[in-house]
Point group: C2
Chain length 109, copies 2
């Protein structure tokens, strides 16, 4: 899921701790709450909810309740949210290109 974007702890971040991963998870289309929670190993429901609400307030994604039994909720990126792919890709590219050098410095220093 995130193989193209190595999880070097920082030094580069978009929004909160889970924001970049959420965007990446939604890349290929809308997903439900539980479909987001599974791949984002370690995130609690509370924190995931907060992150999603924050992204919704910023217009990065939409939240849609689908009725039925059982009902579910769909999260989908807006155009604004998808526009983050570009800077996100730049960060991933930087990390891929320099993470070894960075790790070497940290190990030495």
């Amino acid at each position: 899921m995130f193989a193209d974007c190595p999880p070097v702890d920082p030094p580069m971040r978009v929004g909160g701790k889970w924001t970049a991963k959420i965007i990446t998870c939604l890349r290929s289309g809308p997903r439900r709450f539980s479909e987001l929670r599974a791949p984002l190993a370690g995130v609690t429901a509370k924190v995931l909810t907060e992150s999603l609400r924050s992204l919704e307030r910023d217009g990065m994604l939409t939240r849609t309740e689908r009725p039925g039994v059982p009902g579910h909720v769909e999260y989908e990126l807006t155009a604004l949210g998808r526009s983050l792919f570009e800077p996100l890709a730049a960060q991933c590219a930087w990390t891929r290109a320099h993470m070894a050098e960075l790790a070497a410095h940290r190990a030495a220093g």
Copy 2:
């Protein structure tokens, strides 16, 4: 100094709160501690020192004590540090292009 990179509170950040601005300040060449502190309005000596030490540990910049009376200290970006310009520019471009839309969502929501 930072006119080309609007200070939208985030959503995009490189490292700590001051990291991106420090890198930008060092863009045109080496600077002394006090030459960094002035344009970074609001940063305390402690926090600036911490940020610089962290960047030094990561190999992003070098710290050089110049003897003499009065002596001073020079901070200069390494090649690794300068390599951050690219993703940094991508972030600035995104912010410039979408900050109005973002602000509108936040005001409405």
